[in-house]
Symmetry: C2
Amino acid sequence: MTSSDAKFSDATGAVTMATLTAPLEPLMLKLDAFLEREIECFEPEVREIVRYTFSHSGKRLRPILVFFCGWGGKGRVDDMVKAAAIVEMVHLATLVHDDILDGATLRHKAPTLVAKYGAHASVLLGDALFSEALRLATQYPSTEICRIVAHATRKVCEGEICQTFKRGDARISLVLYYRMIELKTAELFRAACRIGACVGGYGETFVAAADEYGMHLGTAYQIYDDVADLVGDEASIGKTLGTDLASGKFTMPVLFYLEKMTVKERNDFANKCAEMSNTDLREAFSGSDALARTAAAFKTEIEASARSLYPFKNLPSCEPMGLLAVFVSGLMPKR
Amino acid sequence: MTSSDAKFSDATGAVTMATLTAPLEPLMLKLDAFLEREIECFEPEVREIVRYTFSHSGKRLRPILVFFCGWGGKGRVDDMVKAAAIVEMVHLATLVHDDILDGATLRHKAPTLVAKYGAHASVLLGDALFSEALRLATQYPSTEICRIVAHATRKVCEGEICQTFKRGDARISLVLYYRMIELKTAELFRAACRIGACVGGYGETFVAAADEYGMHLGTAYQIYDDVADLVGDEASIGKTLGTDLASGKFTMPVLFYLEKMTVKERNDFANKCAEMSNTDLREAFSGSDALARTAAAFKTEIEASARSLYPFKNLPSCEPMGLLAVFVSGLMPKR
């Protein structure tokens, strides 16, 4: 892929989702066309729900990671587009299964698959998307891509299982919290980055750096996502929020919030938190340093992701990768 | 794998599960040891449920297919054992997900994973088993094995989705019934046979024959399984029966049974069948030719599976493969 004279920020140097993705537009159109053709690979009865899933696929953050990590490398465009499709399909499969388990009804401003087609079809469609993604991964010359995808997929599921087993436990350690979000989110970010750099034709040292970048950026992203679920605004984010506390998932800001409480206060909070709205929660958290401490942990991860790129700053891929980290860092609500 | 002087029948020439699997015992022990080591590859929190799933894995029919189709070939034993583990893990993953959807509480004479650990963990464990199986498949030199496994897995899920969408429809065509059981069952039998022949070191023409054999044997096996679910004996089969009708799945014997009914009779049956015990059903079906016609369709598939082996009858793998078809043909209850 050639970088040509792509520009990822506006005239003032500001980075938005729009400025970041503008140079990717031709690739994103190719990705849309690839996914459209993919629908036809499924059995006729299944195509409608595959189409529904593909057409509500959000920000396409993981394809962006693939394209940015391979940016300006010698990889073929078609191979990059396929890699982006594989990672997006794995991500969509995990969302489909997550939404069943969370009982979520809204995702990307539309009804979730489980809300529209039921749990049966959703469990199975998730499985079919996983396996189709892996089938596509076998079309590369070596088993490398398939291995990365299969490994990441297993880690994502294991992370979700750990979280399931820890539901309702308000005293999980920060170490365990980090391990769970690394597994359930950062592993797939990391896989997207590794595959992007790999298929993009970059050498081993940069592939390892992209892997590191993805791991930290994914961790940061999940911390942001956990904060948004807690105190975000449903209308602007476009998905059901507050599902974490309602389902007994205690995330970083909550762990910090509970840390200084007495056992009684902690139990009181655990008993009533499932019924609290995001507005109630914002109010409750406003007197605590929990959100500020979470924002600091988030910043540490963003900085680590940027740091992994330093030795490669002359590579064309490092500019969009660095700017994406800047953009993600701006997602966290200012206090 | 060397065939040595293996014998797959007893002194009288009778074939039982015991005589068929006796020569496989060293391989099955290696498979057990392989799966035991596999448990350690999962995150610590997940190991208990992986162990539970592995330790209730039934007849291991699909590993038997792998071993038989590669029997006497030049394949390395370790590669064959890994192939058997991959296919068994995919099968177990589909069972775990099926049991959630069917609400089954008993499988292989033990509580199902969903009954013991809940739907959350079960959905995710199925996913983790799928992806671990595919990760193992990437350890072969080419992408071939991974491709076969990913393809079969997708087909299995698509078959289940079709069936889900057709639940409650008592007028599905036989053509659709065949397509659904080919997808949901025969595709994985076929994959097991293809992988066995392939990893076993056999050439392309025999690999294609093994594929054909697996497709027909798998179709026959699902027809048998559908009959057993309808009129079988729960105590001797060791799993919850009657789930098909209870969940609105109309299988071959039921389709034949309904064929000659008036619309009113058909509706009456559809309304009351979910509450009928297997004994009631046996009684209802005794005056009909539905079970005999189903047995005939089953026999056609068994014969087709045996026929695919004819051109290769001098290969060492064809003896156990042929005898396995004989054994499966004996599963169907005599009338």
